[in-house]
Structure formats: structure tokens, C-alpha cells
Symmetry: D2
């Protein structure tokens, strides 16, 4: 199995960063896991596909209708925001790009479960989450942490 | 239906505050909703019962075994940390007392859903959550916000 | 804590039976737990309230908006059909009154978790679930099974 | 995106059938989605991999520890039996091979969500689910139903 890295967040202003994060993860052979919807989730998936990577989207609704177009595999959970737990639990590491309260919930869950979390600046400041200044640094930190902790 | 206020958090050093919060909520006629386990959850429930209030615990496991002894009603969810979403969604307002990453997830979910959140100092600092210096102030803020927003 | 019995099902033609089930449970001191919406869920809650009982509704949505009017306490889960697991897990026993596929999922989950299940005729025939001919018999079977197994 | 077919069930005596179902689905280009654990889930995944197919496992726990070894992608949900909803919701069609109460819950959820369900004999008899006599027939029915309904 490839390493899986979850990319969480939101905000159109963070899409360029998310796309680069997705691209770099794919170049390093990591599968990109997201919540499957738009903005940061779509951008990270698009970036991964542009580098020939693999993408998984974990959707909140009961159908695939809201999925973005850059997903190879779609998990339809039917549990609304409860799927945020699955998004971060499915990553060997988690990278947060932008984001608001849903992202905060994801960071909280990831740290609860012992998943390494990297926040790409600017973003939520949470003790226990590593901070990165660039997409390259975020990917580097996430992959190093994933290998080190072997959380899953 | 009585107003329901969810009390979230953890940490034995915050139990005294949580107990006072529970007691004051009960005195004001609010039902106290928690995650149903120990520490802050148990203390808030105990405080509510000491004032003749009503308590509901929303448990993560598949049985009632881990419930504390101050619960009038127990909801057994079977969905682990996913139950944090239900704990905060069930409150007309949410009060955080201490707490670590699970509490952060709850604050994130509460604000995602538009529930008013009051953090009793010391605690997580999150934009969008009101801060209170004392249990009395936390209860005051929570009940005022619950009535004002009428979120549910 | 009072014994909690979950009443599941749907179908307007089963509402009279559900109301009697709720009433009899309340007369026996059991708290009635349902999915909190209409038809069988509303009828069972209404019956319980008519006998001065206590009712809890465990809702699928993110607000209390869809709750019926006979609930003392409302748990808002936000996890859609995933809340069916919580509805049955929260009962010391489960009574199914009518119902279609969602009820089948609830019967499946209840038996998975070892909760005693009573199906009031007519209803799903599932090995492992007891069958009752009348509301009184359903309540009798459910309370006896709840006390015998002590599942929670 | 490839068509996704969820294979649910349990029972060691059904593993040979499940493996054939997985193999045939993979030969037809469908991705095989399961609950990611042992017996029928492992056998279906193994069958799919033996034909060069793609497999996704949607796990109940908080880590990847219980995953079988024939999964390309793992979704860790952390929501216990609640993940059954995600397993069936993620399929364009669902095939049940053997199974007990958890499978019954999955059939109930699948039909609730409008997913076509095929039960491979012997198995649960549920109105609304199609019955197949052989693995080949089950796969045929599932793929035809998936294309016809276009549920997702």
C-alpha cells in the first residue's frame, strides 16, 4: 500500500497552495485523501492527478453527486461532517491548507488519533501541529512524520 | 423542551469548574448534555444532579458500561469519536471547560454548525468562541447566546 | 437510570400500534427512545407522553427542526442514517413496529450489538428477533428480555 | 471513475464464492469496495487482486491494523459499525455473500439509499434485493443494475 496523506482545508485563496501540495505528494508516491468536495479538496486532487498520482475523496453526502472531478475513488459516507473523522484517520499524516471550523475539527481529530499534522502557513495555530512555510516544506514534514510514527 | 447546553472538555484540574457549570445550568433550568464519560463530563453531570437538574450522556462505545453515574439518560452511539459531533449538535449552546484535542474537534464542529461556543478560561483560544472568566459568566453567556440565536 | 426501550419503524398504518407500545412502556416506567421524526416515531413518543413517560429522540439532521413535538430530550447527531446505530444501541431492548429498509438496518444493528429485538406483527421476519402479536405482548417481551440479558 | 461495487458479507464457508465475485468484478473493470476485514471481505479483495483489479477497504476502527492484505486503498473511519453505511453507499451496486446481522444492516441501508442489492444464494431474503444463484450471475446482475440506475 502507498502512503496516504490527507489534505484538509478550504478557501479559494488557498487553492494554489493546495494544488502544489497535491502535486508534490503524488510525485513522492503518496496517495492524496481529501473530503472530496471543492476548493482546497479539489485543488489538492487536481494537483495530484496532474502528476499522475492517485486520489481518494471521502464525501459527506449520500451520493457521489458533489464529488469533484479529480477523484479516482470515492467513498460516500452518508454521515455529514462526521466524515471529517474518516478523512484524517485515513491519512498516515495530515496537511491543513487554509480552512475554517471544519478544518479545526479535523486537526483536533487527527491529533486525538495520533496522526501527525502539518499546518501550511497561514492557518490554524494548534499546539501539537507542525507549521510549514511552503507547500514543499509541508509535504516534506508530512512524509517524514508519516514514516517516523508509522501510526497506521 | 428545556434548553440543552453541552458541556465539553477534559482534565481533572478542571473538574471543579465543570461541576459549578453543571450546577448553575441546572439551576437555570437547562438540561446538561455531555459525552457521558469521566472528568469534566462526569463533574458537569454531578453538578447538575446536585441541583436537581437533568443530564444526558452521549457515549462513544457500544454499551453503557463506561457511563458515569450522574446521567439520567444515556445515548449509546457506537461511533467512537464521531459522537463528538452529536454532543455539540445537541446543545443550544456549548461550554468548553479545559480539554485537549477532542475538545478542539468539538469546538470546531460546534462553530461549523453555528452553535454558540463559550470557552471557560483557561482553554482553547478560537476565533468565533466567546471567552468567560468564571463558571457563572460561562453559563450566562451560553444561555444568552442560546436564546438569541435560537439555532435549533 | 430507567430502562430504555427503543421503538423503531415507519408507516402511518402502524401508528396506532406504536402509540399503544409507547403508552405501555411509559406505564411500566421505561424511557422511550426513537429516531425522533414522524409516523411510528412520533406515535410511540406521543403514547409515552400520554402516560406521563419520558421520551428521547435521536435525530439524523444537524438541527432540531424535524423533531416531533412529543420529545423531552433531543439528540441531534448530524450523521444521517448513521444515527440508526445509536437509536438501537441506546435501547436495553428494541421494538420494531412496521417499518421498511431503515428499520431492517436497525434490526440488523440491534442484533449485531446483542440487543433483544421484538418485531410486532406484521413486520420484518428476521431470525433472532422475537415476534409479538399485540403491543402488550411486544412490551412484555421487550421488558423481560431487557431485564434478562442486562446487555448494557 | 471506474464503477464501484461493494461486496458485503461474512462466514468462512462463503469465501470461495466471495473470491470468485471479486475476481469477476475485477475482470469487468469494477473496483471492489468492502469493509476491509477478514472472511468474505478479504476473499473478495483477494479475488479482485488476482485479476489485477483495484480494491478499497472501509475499516471500522481507528487504525489500519485490522485491514486485510489485499487492499490498495484503506479508509479508516473510526465509527465502528457505523461504517457499514459508508460501505454500501460507496457502491454503485452491492453484492451480499453470506453474512449475518451486520450484513442485514448493510442490505437495509443499501436499499434505503436506493443502491441495487444482489444476494448470492444462500443468503438473506429481503424484498427489494435481487437473488443470484452463482457468483457470475451476481456480478452480472450487479453491473447491469449499476449501469441502469446510475444511482450515483
Amino acid at each position: 500500500m502507498a502512503i496516504q496523506v490527507s489534505v484538509v482545508g478550504s478557501g479559494t485563496e488557498h487553492e494554489a497552495n493546495a494544488e502544489t501540495v497535491g502535486l508534490l505528494l503524488a510525485e513522492r508516491g503518496a496517495t492524496v485523501v481529501t473530503g472530496g468536495l471543492g476548493e482546497v479538496m479539489a485543488a489538492a486532487s487536481r494537483g495530484a492527478k496532474s502528476a499522475g498520482g492517485t486520489t481518494i475523496g471521502i464525501l459527506p453526502g449520500e451520493t457521489r453527486a458533489a464529488a469533484n472531478e479529480w477523484l479516482d475513488h470515492v467513498v460516500v459516507t452518508g454521515i455529514g461532517h462526521g466524515r471529517n473523522l474518516a478523512v484524517v484517520a485515513s491519512g498516515d499524516a495530515v496537511i491543513a491548507v487554509g480552512g475554517r471550523y471544519g478544518t479545526l475539527a479535523e486537526i483536533g481529530f487527527a491529533l486525538t488519533l495520533g496522526r501527525p499534522v502539518v499546518v501550511l502557513e497561514p492557518g490554524w495555530a494548534v499546539d501539537g501541529a507542525q507549521r510549514a512555510q511552503t507547500p514543499a516544506e509541508a509535504v516534506e514534514f508530512a512524509l517524514a512524520a508519516a514514516r517516523h510514527t508509522g501510526v497506521t
